[in-house]
């Protein structure tokens, strides 16, 4: 499971404060702790903390790079921001994200190829978030086709079929699972399937329980990566256990520690 740690996001009070005060220590502590908890990569999102998105993202990159060489996900929907920031990110990077329409893909896929970056493609187009699973699959196929056409290897591509909160969009969790089952057979090797996991419980009660339960359902349907909170130990342990049950890792009595050791060895 590729865990992309979500905590360095300006919507969190501590991060918002750190950004405004240029306090490196808070950001670096979050980076370190997420990596120790087993994250594979770290998401960097300015959120509502500042209007100077490029400047703050570059500051976040520099700050985090002082403590880890893990892949960094640049979380911003704007071409203007991504095209300025991505070439300046040292080491492994993930462009998070671009939509599934032709024009966006024609810009973002070459950006990923030129910078040897990973790309997250969202199954959203001009018409918005699809209601039906079939439309999600269709848009996913569009993204994968464009990647292959422009020379982005599918193992550098993440497709995100967009999960929505279950209270406002009750059919979506099921629709996303159905879409993922079909998206896994899009190419060989298949693209990664990613979700912003916390969205499923946005505005709901029992958020951690909902996230944890949907994580298992999604992994069983073929999700191999998630933007999630690695500091939620129960959530991480559930991901590690699911992976072991899927035989992606061989069991041993200390299988939880073994996963975190593996994550550490990879850093």
């Amino acid at each position: 499971m590729y865990v992309i740690g979500e905590r360095i996001n300006g919507m969190f009070r501590d991060v918002r404060k750190a950004i405004r005060k240029q306090d490196k220590a808070i950001i670096q502590d979050l980076a370190r702790r997420q990596m120790e908890a087993g994250a594979w990569a770290l998401d960097l999102n300015v959120g509502p903390a500042s209007a100077e998105e490029v400047k703050v993202l570059l500051w976040l990159v520099e700050t985090v790079r002082e403590v880890t060489s893990a892949p960094l996900a640049i979380d911003n929907p704007k071409w203007k921001v991504q095209s300025e920031v991505v070439p300046k990110v040292p080491g492994e990077k993930i462009i998070n994200s671009c939509k599934a329409d032709e024009d966006a893909l024609d810009q973002f896929v070459p950006l990923a190829v030129e910078n040897e970056a990973y790309l997250v493609g969202l199954t959203i187009d001009q018409a918005g978030v699809p209601a039906a699973a079939e439309k999600r699959v269709e848009l996913g196929a569009t993204i994968a086709a464009k990647a292959m056409e422009k020379g982005l290897p599918t193992d550098r591509l993440f497709i995100d079929p967009i999960i929505l909160p279950v209270n406002v969009s009750p059919a979506t969790p099921g629709s996303v699972l159905a879409a993922m089952q079909q998206l896994t057979i899009l190419a060989d090797p298949p693209p990664h399937l990613l979700l912003g996991l916390s969205n499923v419980s946005q505005g709901c009660n029992e958020r951690e329980l909902i996230n944890r339960t949907y994580l298992v359902m999604a992994m069983a349907a073929g999700m191999d990566s998630a933007i999630m909170d690695p500091l939620d130990t129960a959530l991480m342990n559930t991901a590690i256990t699911t992976e072991m049950l899927q035989q992606k890792a061989i069991y041993c009595d200390s299988f939880l520690d073994a996963y975190r050791m593996r994550a550490k060895a990879a850093t």
Binding site: A249, S254, A258, R262
Partner: protein, 326 residues
Amino acid sequence: MKAQDTAQKWASAVSTVTIGATKDEGGTRGRTVTVGGAGGLPWLAYEGDLGQRPAIAIEVWDAGAESWPEELKKQYGEVLSDPVAWAKKAEEFGADLVCLRLMGTHPDMGDRSADEAAGVVKAVLAGTQAPLIVWGCGVEEKDNEVLPKCSEVARGENCLMGTITEKNYRTLVAACLADGHTLVAESPLDINIAKQVNILAHDAGYPLEKLVIFPQTASLGYGSEYVHSILERGRLAGLGGDPLLRQPVLCDVGAEAWRAKEAQASEEVLPGFGPAEARGPLWETLTATNLLQAGTDIFVMRHPKAVGLLRESIDRLTSAAAAGKA
């Protein structure tokens, strides 16, 4: 019609372990032996680096070999009662390593003391050039007395010490950390426990890169294919990135193969099975060659004929792999 390219891309490689230390490195060995390092499935040179050539260790006992089968005893004669002479004979037979098994310390086989055992280790080191494997008698309490003493007298020689298990690892880990030796991690034909022993050693401070996995071994006809499958699963996991299963593997072929009645018994006892002098060494050879295909990195062997045949197999696989790559 072009054959499908079946080569896989792997995230990781088998780790490499070096045994022995030359004068420049703080020891007295004439050479060192390095094992492991394969970058793909066993012998598939088109998929990845083959890594280091598998090494052959010949087993030497400090005492108690009177119980060995006749066909084996014939090969060694008088040296069976003199571990230093025996180790020299092993070198003559072409051993890459000597595996000194301290069976004389076993409570039922002489119960020799830690000091006596350490004396043998010292004498064997003085009398030979080959890197040394030091192996206990298998009784935990005794090994915990004997092996640290042996580890101490061999400090600087970078021996491969054996073994640690899931239930008994702290003593030998501490000794090997203090004296700079590499370590054999043993599990009972159980890949889950193999992983667990490595994580326990790691948590006790021992580096994963200095471990050798010993999954135990079974003879031809008595489960060697099960050992093969464990090696296969372990190699797949290690190449796939599991840091706890990427260590090189040791198999104890001689001891297991010669336990089989098919290896030992005369033709009177087993009519139709052919003469014992041919049968025994072949039983050991075929146990070894099966495990060679599965990716074994260190073989502990007994019969010189089996050693020779195994070496020929390694030569043939190595040149075939090189040719296949061309």
